[in-house]
């Protein structure tokens, strides 16, 4: 074997071996970075799912409280309607016409709005929780599907896809490395100068593969970071909506309790049956006074029931 040829063979083989070794190291490194980012993202995703479940539970609880309160409001409206009717027909203290009108309006508004609500109490229950439920589907999963790319990467099926995506390159590169080794051996044994550039080409090819993987991982790391940033913003919006829902629920419950107490304390209801009281001649000015308090409380409670726990602005962020 001519000496210069051996030198060339050794140099080419050494260079390609170094390159393939380096590329394999690079690919392992980038795979590790990718895996780290993926697991970090999965932790955040789990956290977001927990907050989302809490929001859903709070929404459902608020829905139940609202349905219950809407029944009390309806009861109050019936009571007021009866008192108003009695005031018109009997020679009793007159209810001012504007107050009477408001009372009657409350009844008709309840029949209209709560009519739907109570008729569809089930719907109402759902309505309150429908917000979160709706956004569950479109929101969090829509979010994570910010997406679908990330979900597909982080999902269960992702593992094989991920392996296919990331591992494929490495395997291919590893294959290249083996071919390369054989080529180098071939160069050394046969001292064929033609094989030296081929060996180098294989080394460069394996480097190129590693470079492509690096680019892919860099893009994915970027995607993970963007998705995590988005997810974190949604988590904040959800957490705040939970607090807001709690605030509304407490107010509805407290006002509902007050209205129930007022209805219980009303002289007419104390007699046991509302009709009996209204048909009797026992309606006095204090009763009108109580009736007006019932009216104010029922009106407030109805307005509280109508409040939404998730503002439009928050909904936009959550469902984005």
């Amino acid at each position: 074997m001519p000496f210069p040829l051996l030198i060339v063979g050794v140099v080419a083989g050494g260079a390609s071996l170094a390159m393939s070794g380096h590329s394999a190291w690079k690919q392992r490194k980038w795979k590790k970075i990718y895996d780290e980012r993926l697991s970090e993202f999965q932790v955040i995703q789990k956290e977001a799912e927990g907050i989302h479940s809490r929001l859903q539970a709070v929404g459902e609880s608020l829905g139940r409280v609202k349905v219950q309160a809407s029944r009390t409001v309806e009861e109050a409206a019936e009571y007021l309607q009866a008192v108003a009717k009695k005031s018109q027909t009997k020679s009793l203290p007159k209810i001012p016409s504007e107050v009477l009108k408001e009372w009657i309006n409350l009844r008709s508004e309840i029949v209209t709005s709560l009519g739907i609500g109570v008729a569809g109490a089930a719907v109402s229950g759902v309505t309150a929780s429908a917000g979160p439920a709706l956004y569950t589907a479109a929101g969090l999963f829509g979010v994570a599907s910010t997406g679908t790319r990330i979900a597909s990467l982080s999902g269960a099926a992702a593992n094989s896809a991920r392996l296919a995506w990331i591992g494929g390159g490495a395997v291919a590169a590893g294959g290249g490395g083996m071919v390369l080794g054989a080529t180098v051996l071939n160069v050394l044994s046969k001292a064929n100068i033609v094989m030296a550039p081929i060996a180098l080409g294989a080394g460069i090819w394996s480097e190129k593969k590693a470079h492509e993987l690096e680019k892919k991982v860099t893009d994915k790391v970027q995607e993970f970071a963007d998705a995590e940033a988005k997810l974190r913003r949604k988590m904040t919006a959800m957490q705040l909506s939970i607090t807001r829902a709690g605030e509304i629920q407490d107010s509805v419950q407290e006002t509902d309790t007050a209205l129930k107490n007022l209805l219980q304390n009303a002289e007419t209801l104390k007699l046991g049956a509302m009709e009996l009281a209204v048909n009797s001649d026992e309606l006095r000015r204090p009763d009108l006074h109580v009736a007006h308090q019932i009216y104010l409380t029922a009106k407030t409670l109805r307005e509280l029931i109508e409040q939404s726990a998730i503002s439009e602005a928050n909904r936009r962020i959550i469902e984005e």
Partner: protein
């Protein structure tokens, strides 16, 4: 064998090694950039999340305090038949609840992200 051919092959081998080294340098720089850039971005978002939560928690706590006062007044009024207190309590509760602190949350977040905006807290 022609020594010139051998020399050319040797040069080719050396340039491949140099290229590999350069690529290694670029890769290390790029990796470092990706890490620092996105680590910084996420740190910023985490901080933003913490601050927004803290700000709104304080806001909700203030509202909670007022609401508690009105709940107490409401029950006191229903027990004693105090119409004035009842009206005040109902008005107070409704006024607080109708003012949704999150109504313009998206705008607030944007303002928070803008370094030129001065937030009045």
């Amino acid at each position: 064998m022609n020594p010139q051919v051998a020399l050319a092959a040797g040069r080719l081998g050396l340039s491949a090694i140099v290229q590999m080294f350069n690529s290694y340098q670029c890769e290390a720089t790029r990796r470092e950039w990706v890490r620092t850039h996105y680590d910084a971005l996420l740190e910023k978002v985490k901080l933003e999340q913490e601050n927004l939560l803290r700000y709104y928690e304080m806001k909700f706590a203030e509202r909670r305090e007022s609401l508690e006062h009105f709940y107490w007044l409401l029950h006191e009024a229903t027990e004693n038949g105090n119409a004035l207190h009842l009206q005040g309590a109902l008005y107070g509760i409704l006024d607080i609840i109708k003012t949704d602190p999150l109504a313009e949350y998206d705008k607030f977040v944007l303002a928070y992200q803008d370094p030129d905006t001065v937030l009045e807290i």
